[in-house]
């Protein structure tokens, strides 16, 4: 069997090394992309760990409240007559100015740790400082020194002075201890943290260690606004939230592998067609059907294994490149986190191996079975034959229509567990439908344009068209592969383009102020650094300023899911804003916000929590729970957590922290922007504030948007690259298979240039048909992406928009690449010796 395999399968593969290599390369690329996204998304989102979980150690419960907890609760709980250990934490972020590195700033009660008699070790992630084994640095007592325990990659040593930018101020601190750790963080004493953050007597979280189930007793001691949850519940919620994002990415990564599968199918089909008479002879000589089937499946497995051998290390390398981009998207849209290390585990490698082998064997199954079914007499009598697909065309068209109808119904189904599973199914069915319709599409199009091609491209165009039509069996699979890749590019391009256009329009309606102010430290979807209170008044006092809106945001949890609670001045929005309310009357909404506990909420919030206009939601604010009425729903694309927006003065009643997260400054008409900017800089000279004119903020927003989708485009391009490589390989097969025909043309007077032109015409036709089919399929897929998958995954509506220029550019590149893919096969065709070929025949 092995000898047979070596002679009948390996030898032909060795005889065509370039084609073999191209097929292996396409499988390897598919596998590497799947593995890279698996590893990178796992590092950035899958094994999610919030930055703020740094040095949290183990605990049983955690207590939180919107706007923070009063420090007195720490003392109250510590004094309860129950066996619990309570650890207070302040959690924020700071920028280490020397390295511009953003790191978690954690405030801990270091004195309490110092008093713990069992303490032996310094705080680090594996030995949390809250455990009894902590020895504080000698000069860490609050009020004695502004000391900090630092864990960064930089070469700091105890005694060094560092500058930490926290919110809008810089603080000089002395390093008291340096910890070796994979993750960077800074630990300060609780009191110092409160001082640095201007949040006296407030803490963010209390971690509880309890030996028994003491939940009821602890709950009794809590104010109603505080939440007691099992420790890690929020991390788990964040992880769940990221799961959807991850699965979208993983599914995108499989496109390249699916395109690779088409090419495997094509390769094995070509093998079967070419060796038809050979198989007939072997069957006549006694080879069983099972052996034939096994041999062709083994050929596919060989491609799979070679692809895996290259794809796995390549995937590991690509993961390094992808993790930064995925991490940035997670930060922008979801939650502050630090990507973990990329780990090529046995499990992830096994997954890649299984995915690669499954896809290649599944793709090869149909042609291998067909090979096994070949009747010896028929195969030998008729010799090599290119199958006539016309008989199956009608059946395939009917199946295609069935798949399209099924896709339509799948697109109407609701999500399952906040995941658009039926949306994915609809997309897959559409791809299947298009693949089934491809032979008919190619047949009718080549037939109907034959004369046009002849008049445009001469006899070479006519011959190319006839050849494509005559070898539908193999060319249609190839074209289906390229159509799929192009369609994915087109649909994702339209989806991202629509999203981008919608976001630009949304930014126009949101960013109505002339200048925006925010602390000069990075923010993210759950991180809202604040400005010093009173800053708004200082700016408002400037003569060129007419109005200042103060916006404050808090990351909160609502019904177990992360949400952003915000407040702004409803008056300003009413006068100057161009807020587009999807539901609710703007005038009445703003009036209600001014006078009652009412809020407008964002579209993702409504979709995620299934709430509606007029509903009342209970929000734990400060120490109590407050009923808030929803009076409007607005479009928002800044993050997918969802917003609840109250009027500033109403929220201040319950969360009396006046520090705004950012300011929107409106100038008098005709004011010179640069002068206004300078005046604000002077007025706020003692603070570290970013002063962003409207235009720069818009630019920044679009930049973040484009960066977010960069990885999506990269994945699409890999799929297209795989398909184009496939075109080169398949054209090569066509050339080798049509040696006789090409040689005969030379006998009949065809010049070498005509042979080259003929092959390039075929490549061009394949490219053109694929681009055409890709546009049609991509257009339909984009509807599923925009109105089903996107809506169900993220909860926001986007307006359909076709980025014509970008798509035209991309499609031209694909067409050109396909044409270029014909160059090498054309060279091979020209190198044929017509005399030898005809003599052989």
């Amino acid at each position: 069997m092995i000898r047979l395999f070596a002679r009948l399968i390996l030898r032909p593969l060795r005889a065509e090394p370039v084609r073999t290599l191209l097929t292996v390369l396409s499988v390897a690329l598919g596998i590497s992309v799947v593995l890279a996204i698996e590893l990178a998304s796992d590092a950035a989102a899958g094994s999610f760990r919030s930055s703020l979980e740094t040095v949290a150690g183990e605990a049983d419960y955690e207590i939180t409240a919107v706007g923070g907890l009063d420090e007195s609760l720490y003392a109250k709980l510590s004094q309860l007559p129950i066996p619990i250990k309570v650890r207070p934490r302040i959690e924020n972020h700071a920028v280490l100015l020397e390295s511009k590195q953003t790191l978690p700033l954690i405030g801990l009660d270091l004195v309490a740790h110092a008093l713990d008699t069992n303490s032996t070790n310094a705080p680090n992630p594996s030995n949390p400082p809250a455990s009894p084994s902590v020895t504080p640095a000698p000069n860490l007592a609050p009020g004695v020194s502004r000391g900090v325990i630092l864990a960064t990659a930089s070469n700091r040593k105890p005694g060094d002075t560092i500058t930490l930018r926290i919110n809008d101020h810089d603080h000089l601190l002395t390093v008291t201890k340096v910890i070796n750790s994979d993750t960077a963080f800074a630990i300060v004493d609780l009191g110092l943290a409160q001082d640095l953050l201007s949040r006296p007597l407030k803490i963010d979280r209390l971690l509880i260690e309890a030996t028994d189930n003491l939940e009821p007793q602890i709950k009794q001691a809590l104010p109603t606004g505080a939440t007691l949850a099992p420790f890690g519940a929020r991390t788990e919620e964040n992880r769940k939230m990221l799961a959807g994002f991850r699965s979208n990415l993983v599914i995108l990564s499989y496109i390249a592998l699916v395109v690779g599968a088409f090419l495997i199918y094509n390769t094995i089909s070509v093998s079967v067609v070419r060796r038809r008479s050979e198989i007939g002879i072997l069957r006549a000589l006694g080879m069983t059907r099972t052996t034939v089937l096994t041999m062709f499946l083994a050929e596919a497995a060989l491609f799979g294994l070679a692809g895996i051998a290259i794809g796995v290390p390549l995937g590991r390398l690509l993961a390094e490149a992808a993790v930064g981009a995925i991490g940035a998207t997670v930060q922008n849209l979801y939650v502050s986190s630090q990507p973990g290390l990329i780990a090529l585990t046995f499990l992830s490698s096994l997954k890649a191996v299984l995915a690669g082998l499954t896809v290649t064997l599944a793709a090869a199954w149909a042609p291998a079975r067909e090979a096994a079914a070949i009747a010896p007499v028929e195969a030998m009598a008729r010799g090599r034959k290119d199958y006539d697909t016309s008989q199956t065309q009608f059946r395939n068209l009917a199946l295609s229509a069935f798949c399209a109808a099924a896709a339509y119904f799948a697109s109407l189904a609701p999500p399952i567990g906040r995941r658009p599973l039926f949306g994915y199914l609809a997309a897959a069915l559409l791809v299947l439908s298009a693949s089934l319709a491809t032979p008919a599409f190619v047949h009718y199009l080549t037939r109907s344009t034959r004369h046009l091609l002849k008049s445009l491209l001469g006899v070479e165009g006519l011959l190319a068209s006839q050849s494509l039509d005559a070898s539908l069996r193999r060319t249609s699979v190839l074209i289906a592969a390229l159509i799929t890749a192009v369609a994915m590019l087109v649909s994702v391009g339209i989806m991202v383009g629509s999203f981008r256009e919608t976001v630009i329009q949304w930014i126009d309606s949101q960013l109505t102020a002339d200048i925006f102010l925010q602390p000069a430290v990075p923010a993210s979807a759950d991180r809202f650094p604040t400005l010093t209170p009173g800053m708004a008044e200082k700016v408002a006092a400037l003569p060129m300023v007419t109005m200042v809106d103060q916006f404050r945001a808090y990351p909160i949890f609502f019904r177990g899911l992360p949400v952003t609670l915000g407040s702004g001045d409803a008056n300003v929005v009413r006068q100057r804003g161009k807020f587009h309310l999807l539901e609710g009357d703007p005038e009445s909404a703003y009036a209600q916000m001014l006078n009652s506990d009412s809020a407008i909420v964002s579209e993702p919030f409504v979709n995620k929590h299934n709430v509606h206009l007029g509903d009342t939601i209970n929000l734990p604010l400060g120490e109590k729970i407050h009923p808030i009425k929803i009076v409007g729903v607005y479009t928002d694309y800044s993050n997918e957590r969802g917003y609840i927006i109250l009027h500033r003065s109403r929220l201040l009643r319950y969360l009396p922290d006046p520090a705004p997260s950012n300011l929107a400054v409106y100038l008098r008409p005709g004011t010179n922007l640069t002068q206004a900017q300078r005046a604000i800089e002077n007025a706020l000279a003692d603070s570290r504030v970013l002063i962003l004119p409207n235009q720069s903020l818009r630019r920044e927003a679009i930049l973040i948007f484009d960066r977010t989708f960069a990885i999506t485009y990269a994945l699409e391009l890999v799929a297209v690259f795989v398909a184009v490589v496939g075109v080169a390989g398949a054209l090569l097969a066509l050339v080798i298979d049509r040696r006789r025909e090409l040689s005969l043309l030379r006998f009949l007077g065809a010049a070498r240039t005509q042979i080259r032109k003929l092959i390039l015409c075929e490549a061009g036709l394949i490219g053109l048909l694929s681009v055409l089919g890709g546009i049609i399929l991509g257009g339909v897929l984009s509807l599923v992406l925009v109105y089903v998958i996107n809506k169900q995954s993220f909860g926001w509506s986007i307006q359909f928009h076709i980025p014509i220029a970008i798509l035209l550019g991309a499609l031209t590149i694909i067409f050109t690449a396909t044409l270029l893919a014909g160059l090498y096969p054309a060279r091979v065709a020209l190198a044929l010796n017509p005399i030898e070929v005809i003599h052989e025949e």
């Binding site: 030379r746 070498r752 005509q754």
Partner: protein, 225 residues
């Protein structure tokens, strides 16, 4: 310009052709005047096919000269050789060599299309009429019998009115009755159209239709009469 009856359509002068160290043709000299049906006989490997390849401007002699309709093939580049084939030579093969994905008419018009000549379809249909296949132009090769396929091949070889028709075992794949019909047709073409045919053959029936017969052995002509 009308063909000059004084100039041989095909002339070999001391032609040698070597492939590595094997001598396929060994000093062949030959002159074929217009309107002659020449049969070349000999065993397999005697050099018949090599002679046809050189006569068809598909190959170059290692030494000596080959003139086709007065034009030497020596020193011609690929483009010029292609033009020579296109204008002056037609090929007929033992296994017909029709393109399976083209209809009979499309196969016949192919040389005209490759040469960029006008009215290709009309001329192709006319040629098919002459080989008595009028009305079968729309059929694909697999829908034709062996004899019909060879007639299509002959029509294709003649469609551009070549001066020289090269036939390599034209009836090798046909039964004797069909073979005879094809040979009659070739004879008729020579008489009616003043075409020159050089035919490599094994069969004694074929030689009966020839004006002249030469025999080859080991790359040489052994009866140069």
């Amino acid at each position: 310009m009308p063909p000059n009856p004084e100039i041989p359509v095909l002339q070999f002068a001391g032609v040698h052709r070597k492939y590595q160290n094997v001598s396929a043709l060994d000093g062949v000299s030959l002159s074929v005047p217009p309107g002659q049906l020449l049969a070349i006989v000999g065993r397999s490997g005697c050099g018949k096919s090599t002679l046809l390849n050189l006569a068809g401007a598909m190959d170059f002699p290692s030494s000596g000269t080959v003139h086709i309709d007065g034009q030497s093939t020596t020193g011609l580049d690929d483009r010029a050789l292609t033009r020579l084939r296109r204008d002056k030579i037609g090929f007929i093969f033992q296994s017909f060599q029709l393109l399976p994905n083209l209809t009979a008419a499309e196969n016949v018009e192919l040389p005209l299309l490759l040469a960029g000549q006008p009215q290709a379809r009309e001329r192709a249909l006319d040629r098919l009429d002459r080989v008595e296949l009028g009305g079968l132009g729309h059929r694909y090769p697999h829908q034709l019998s062996g004899g019909q396929m060879q007639r299509v091949a002959i029509a294709r070889a003649l469609v551009h009115r070549p001066r020289l028709l090269l036939a390599d075992e034209p009836i090798g794949n046909l039964d004797s009755t069909t073979g005879a019909t094809i040979l009659t047709l070739l004879r008729k073409i020579v008489s009616e159209e003043q075409a020159t045919i050089v035919m490599a053959t094994h069969s004694p029936e074929s030689t009966a239709f020839a004006d002249r017969i030469i025999e080859m052995r080991d790359g040489r002509i052994i009866n140069p009469s």
